[in-house]
Amino acid sequence: MPILKVTDLKVYFNVRKKFFWSKNNADTVKAVDGISLDLNEGETIGIVGESGCGKSTLGRAILNLIKPTDGQVLWMGKNLANLEKNEMRNLRKDLQIIFQDPLASLNPRMTVGQIITEPLKTFFPNLSKAERRERVEEIMLKVGLSPHQINRYPHEFSGGQCQRIGIARSMILQPKLLVCDEPVSALDVSIQAQILNLLMDLQKETNISLIFISHDLGVVRHISHKIAVLYLGRVAEIAENEDLYKNPKHPYTQALISAVPIPDPDLEQKKQRMIIKGDLPSPLNPPSGCRFRTRCPKAQEICAEVIPVLEQISPTHIVACHFWREP
């Protein structure tokens, strides 16, 4: 029984045109268009896709920070969209998020201690000051910050340390789900590895589930149990980690994986690269049928007419392509 079940989630944004006299003044961006996912306890799902494919919107819609237009997010059997304000607020204890820009996600006027304490103040107002401080110091040690930095301000820290503060703030309530919205893409590579390992250690310790959003396949491979590849608001392919890398079925996944550099010059030279042409089409006016068809090397007439459904090709592997059987 998965703890999180996302069914046919849709998030549409209305974009108004600039001039009020133009006739149809509401265009719709389908940022997330019918995505379904399952997530088990203690599991990590990696979500990859290029800029503008709806990764972050999906993460925020799952946490109900953006109201979904349609579809369901079932958290332990409860539909988040139907919850009362107070119930939702209580559930926030279990559902946390860390952000891409570590410094921007911390209030510049609060000390590290105040930032990490805030969730405690919200959910456990009865804790004494000493108890709060004890728990803050404990979590700071756990994420690799020394407690004597408790009265420093965020701008006095490096990006990696700020991300640790963000993680400490999210983890202090011992949540069950953590959405990581590109948590390492603003950091340099050595720090990325530290943060990823920290997240994996925390997961081992607390059995938390992670939704790890990234555009970096290497990073996602390192941390995820299963991976969902998105393209223009739809799922292209979902598979177990190794399965996806060894046996990608969707042409888009194949192209992405062939673009990951191999840290060995000889192998890198020999590697066959599959290059996709063109840019991501405008989400205001997506292609008919399969959304990837405008850039797909395998595209044929049927792709423009019929939307490919997600086909189960093994118990843990689904793909949305008319031609997944062809090599």
Binding site: L65, D101, S105, R169
Partner: protein
């Protein structure tokens, strides 16, 4: 991971930093700013003198024998001197300029602070509400501000005076009611940019209530520009009050503000220089001090920007 060495420094840090709140921290930084401290001392001294002005005669009738509206028939328009106890000289009616300058300070400083406080309260509330609610409410509230901007201020004040008679409190209200427009715009703009920041979204995600988001995250982050703007508003309000007094709409004889004293003194500069110089020095020093204090407050509240 901490070894025994960092644990030792932890104890040291505890001793030094313990219990210092954000505002206390800002206070410490403000106290380290020399110009701000000089400004606060000068302004504090001027305010102190103004506050005790009515009691000077009580404290020492020998040194300060005059009240602000008493005519000394033997000394009309005399220079500053210690022998006749007119330290700043007298005006054309033989009134002691030292006491009158201090009384002028009472009026000018009070107008400056009270009118600014009025504008601060209205402006911050209005601006933060408009910015935070956004959408149509925001447009509506800000168009209302635009309408008020377009009303000619002088007519507004004159009409108030004609209807309600001359009254010092009316001046506070009139000035405050006009000055809050800028404050509301500044706070709204700040709120708009801050509510989109990720730390506000993080607070939403953490289940922090709307009230606490406004209180802990949004308003403290608007205070930097507001503090600077306050220190610009106080001098401007003092100036506007002087102008109103000059038109005969402000403080009336025998009371005086610095503006009144300066405007009375300026035609006499060739014959009685002291009538312009002393109130002008007091006004200029106050305004300078306010500017330095404002600068210091901004630096203290915004440790990042230094």
């Amino acid at each position: 991971m901490p070894n025994s060495k960092t644990l030792n420094t932890k104890r040291d840090f505890d001793v030094i930093i313990k219990g210092r709140s954000l505002w206390a921290d800002a206070g410490h930084r403000l106290m380290r700013n020399k110009m701000a401290v000089v400004g606060m001392s000068i302004l504090g001294f001027i305010i102190l003198l103004s506050v005790i002005a009515p009691y000077l005669q009580m404290i020492s009738p020998d040194l300060f024998p005059f009240t602000f509206d008493e005519v000394d028939w033997d000394n009309i328009s005399t220079d500053p001197s210690f022998e006749n106890h007119h330290y700043f000289g007298t005006d054309g009616n033989g009134r002691d300029l030292f006491i009158r300058t201090l009384y002028g300070g009472r009026i000018s400083i009070m107008v400056g602070f009270v009118a600014t406080l009025v504008s601060l309260v209205i402006g911050v509330t209005y601006g933060a509400t408009a910015g935070f609610l956004g959408g149509k409410t925001d447009s509506f509230m800000m168009r209302f501000v635009d309408v008020l901007y377009s009303l000619p201020f002088m007519f507004f004040v004159i009409i108030l005076m004609v209807f309600f008679g001359r009254n010092i409190f009316l001046i506070f209200i009139a000035l405050g009611a006009v000055e809050w427009l800028d404050m509301a715009r500044i706070v709204r703009g700040q709120t708009l940019s801050i509510k989109k920041k990720e730390f506000v979204e993080a607070a939403h995600a953490q289940g922090v209530s709307t009230y606490n988001i406004l209180k802990r995250h949004i308003i403290p982050n608007t205070l930097g520009p507001v503090a600077v703007y306050i220190t610009l508003t106080i001098p401007r309000v003092i100036m506007i009050e002087s102008f109103l007094s000059f038109l005969g709409l402000g403080v009336q004889e025998p009371m005086a503000s610095w503006g009144v004293l300066i405007s009375e003194g300026s035609p006499e500069i060739e014959t009685a220089w002291w009538r312009l110089i002393f109130p002008a020095i007091f006004l200029a020093f106050s305004l300078f001090s306010l500017n330095f204090i404002g600068d210091g407050i901004r630096d203290a509240l915004d440790p990042k920007d230094r």
